[in-house]
């Protein structure tokens, strides 16, 4: 290989390290990194194929260690790459639970097309599962995330939301910086979206 100080697998390992270090919900999809790893895999594979055929012709056993070494590097690259994708997938899944079925636009920029597609598929099958549970009655599993401590909670409005109708028909005006004492079950989604803030 022409690159002097670089070992096989370094690119793949960098992918993982970057992902782990990033503090964002999900960093931008590393198109270049992934392509480099894929190219490396391909290059190693081709070298191995070439050498394997020359081994078949010559029967030169001294090539064995090199073949094995390349194979191991190949496996490692593959594993790192898939781990990278898997970890991103976990974060995408977590987003479905956190933000609901629509990806916030700032996060959407960080995803690549197949990832957006995966999110939509995941979201759809989760929704249809939740609808079908319990003999067609359906349960919203994304609610009731924390054990209930009290029926009502005190919340403060972080932004202007406007009118909010409760189950019993009562209408509350959610104005910025106003405080309310509302049923927890009904305002939980708003708290998760960051419109309301739960105060002790």
């Amino acid at each position: 290989m022409s690159r002097s100080n670089q070992m096989f697998g370094d690119n793949a390992f960098d992918l993982l390290k970057d992902l782990k270090r990033s503090a964002q919900t999900i960093p931008a999809f590393d198109d270049d990194g992934v392509r480099q790893v894929l190219e490396e895999i391909k290059a190693i594979f081709e070298e191995n194929v070439a050498q394997a055929s020359s081994y078949n012709n010559s029967g030169d056993r001294s090539l064995w260690p090199l073949l094995n070494y390349r194979h191991a590097a190949l496996q490692r690259n593959k594993r790192c790459l898939l781990a990278y994708l898997y970890e991103r997938m976990q974060r995408i899944k977590a987003m479905r639970w956190e933000f609901g079925p629509i990806i916030p636009s700032d996060i959407k920029q960080a995803l690549c097309d197949p990832e957006v597609q995966f999110f939509n598929n995941y979201s759809k099958s989760l929704a249809s599962y939740m609808r079908s549970v319990g003999d067609g009655q359906g349960i919203d599993l994304t609610g009731n995330l924390r054990p209930p401590k009290s029926l009502y909670i005190e919340v403060r409005c972080v932004e202007n939301y406007g009118k909010f109708e409760l189950d019993d028909g009562e209408v509350v005006h959610l104005k910025k910086n106003s405080q309310h004492y509302l049923p927890r079950a009904q305002v939980e989604p708003l708290v998760r979206q960051g419109i309301l803030q739960h105060i002790a």
């Binding site: 594979f45 990832e115 597609q117 995966f118 599962y129 549970v133 009655q137 349960i139 029926l151």
Partner: protein, 233 residues
């Protein structure tokens, strides 16, 4: 404890409807055992045990669709009843709270199962294929969800990476199967006396007395949990 007593009372008022519902379920399943009268409290107990077991066990346990459906209709029923109650009545608050708790348990239980299904998708699907229809671990909805999920993950991996890899390197999907660690330790409480449980590699035996608690690798007691002779805590 007044909460739960209150609930018990409230729930017992509706025992009759629950029994009817259960009879329905039994008919559907063609079970030949007698339809034992089951109270709503009992259903809740079963669900609670199933929930704690599921939370603690490393692998996916038997699904509880019947119990869950009973409880759901019970909750709907109670909500209906509570509409007639005065909102400022003390009982209203207590009942509402209890309903919230039940709902949390059910949601948390199903969520926990989904997490396991997502983590060990292929392993669980493979295992369930070898089981008889009667003791499948996945409910039919969960089975569909698992299939869908496996397919979506595969699609995603293929699109981003594996299709760019050399042919011989693509397969090996079986390498990617993740299985739970069944030998991880769990906390266990015995419900009934069980004698001669083998613990450890050197065939050491232990007798469990009712109510006693132990820390033990899961696999050694998996069948006890399955038969409800012991429960995880």
């Amino acid at each position: 404890m007044s909460d739960s007593e209150n609930l018990e009372q409230a729930l017992n008022e509706h025992d009759l409807s629950t029994e009817a519902a259960l009879a329905d379920v039994n008919e559907d399943d063609d079970e030949d055992e007698d339809a034992e009268p089951i109270t709503a409290q009992k259903v809740l107990d079963i669900l609670e045990t199933a929930w704690t077991n599921e939370m603690c066990a490393p692998e996916l346990l038997q699904h509880q669709t019947d119990m869950l459906e009973l409880m759901l209709s019970q909750v709907a029923h109670m909500e209906e009843q509570m509409k007639d109650l005065d909102k400022n009545d003390f009982r209203f608050v207590v009942h509402q709270m209890e309903l919230e708790r039940i709902r949390y348990i059910m949601a948390s239980y199903l969520r926990c199962r989904l997490q396991k299904i997502e983590a060990f998708t292929q392993h669980i699907i493979n295992q369930d294929e070898t089981r008889d229809a009667a003791d499948k671990r996945l409910s039919s909805e969960e089975a569909k969800y698992a299939q869908d999920f496996a397919q979506h993950v595969d699609e995603y991996f293929t699109k981003v990476a594996t299709r760019y890899m050399p042919n011989q390197q693509r397969g090996e999907a079986e390498q990617r199967i993740v299985a739970p660690n069944l030998m991880s330790h769990v906390f266990l409480k015995a419900n009934v006396a069980v004698s001669g449980v083998i613990v450890g590699v050197d065939d050491e035996e232990v007798d469990l007395t009712p109510g006693s608690q132990h820390i033990i690798p899961y696999q050694l007691v998996a069948d006890l949990v399955q038969k409800n002779q012991a429960q995880l805590i």
